[in-house]
Symmetry: C2
């Protein structure tokens, strides 16, 4: 989304969990990683900062230093609250969609990190589905005053939150939001951006009831 926002051409390489150590010599523990000529950058926030600094004449991802700083708050909110809720919803669905070698890796690393089995996280699934609308209340409230986190048009901060929900759209059979929820409408607008880039990846299920 950040590359499309900047109008930069790019090729994508699909990478499975166990292939991450093969990406660019294995210096990054996670994806996304981008290569731009001789520059290699990992971590989605640092990639956005790199693109902003390297292509200042193209559409801004932050609309100023304040926007860059506050996008860090939105990233932290997404990680601390939204991902925590989505995790219990999505964990088993992600596992189901993986090849056996990646399933083994995914199970071992995630169970160690969470201190519980994947099946145990799934036991929190109904509670997480019920909690999700409340978790998204800050975004819902903000949407009363503007259509994007970026204000009149989307910025990288929108893509941070979009990415979390898109992750679940692609992996989970669950219906997360009610139609008519301003957050569902914002998510649909995100899917339409950049010639429907987000929508071009098929959903496992619709993200909201229709």
């Amino acid at each position: 989304m950040a590359l499309a926002h900047k109008g930069l051409p790019f090729e994508r390489n699909k990478v499975s969990f166990t292939q991450v150590p093969e990406v660019e010599g294995g210096v990054f523990k996670t994806v996304p990683v981008i290569r731009d000529g001789n520059q290699v950058v990992g971590d989605s926030f640092l990639i956005a900062v790199y693109l902003e600094d390297s292509y200042p004449d193209r559409a801004s991802l932050f609309a100023g230093q304040g926007g860059q700083a506050m996008a860090r708050f939105i990233e932290s909110w997404t990680n601390a609250t939204l991902h925590a809720t989505l995790r219990d919803i999505a964990m088993m669905g992600i596992h189901e969609g993986l090849a056996p070698v990646d399933q083994a890796y995914f199970r071992a690393t995630r169970e160690a990190r969470m201190g519980m089995t994947l099946e145990q996280t799934a036991q929190g699934r109904d509670a997480a589905l019920k909690a999700l609308p409340g978790t998204l209340m800050p975004l819902r409230l903000m949407l009363k005053s503007q259509p994007w986190i970026g204000g009149a048009s989307p910025l990288f901060a929108d893509y941070i939150v979009f990415g979390a929900l898109q992750w679940v759209r692609l992996t989970s059979p669950d219906t997360l939001l009610e139609t008519g929820d301003p957050v569902a409408e914002w998510f649909e607008r995100c899917l339409d951006l950049h010639d429907g880039l987000g929508r071009s990846v098929p959903a496992r299920a619709t993200l909201h009831r229709s």
Copy 2:
């Protein structure tokens, strides 16, 4: 805090709840309200926008359009999650500090709005105190990458969150945060800003254990 940030001289008028209809002809239902020459502006966010637009050559409150837009997200997060938690902690303490006429007004309006008595909100006090550190997790996580919501220096978004905690610092006898909590350290930095403007208002209790 916004006026001090802009380096503008100002006089303050203390206003009790029942005096709000007397402020500037009663056109505003809430305070703060500022008068700047012939201009009268209410609502703290709109005041900040007014100051930013009217005094563009002074220190910025938003550091760009992105920062202004994302401050709306931080305001929504503060209202949806932080105020909801702080309310149960502070409600009885605010009531105790009011004159009788304001106590009656405060009780009637707040109980109607909340659909419960002040004493009932106070029953949620222990749970709210326990929940507060988790509520502040997005800020705590963000403080790992930068000292202010505004980045290297404070912006209006910092004052939004500071204002919510300062409200409780002035009205509640409770200890809200543990010393050493990065959020408590950020709050102390806020109290130091602008020659200790926030600290100049005496606390009912320290906000964190020392």
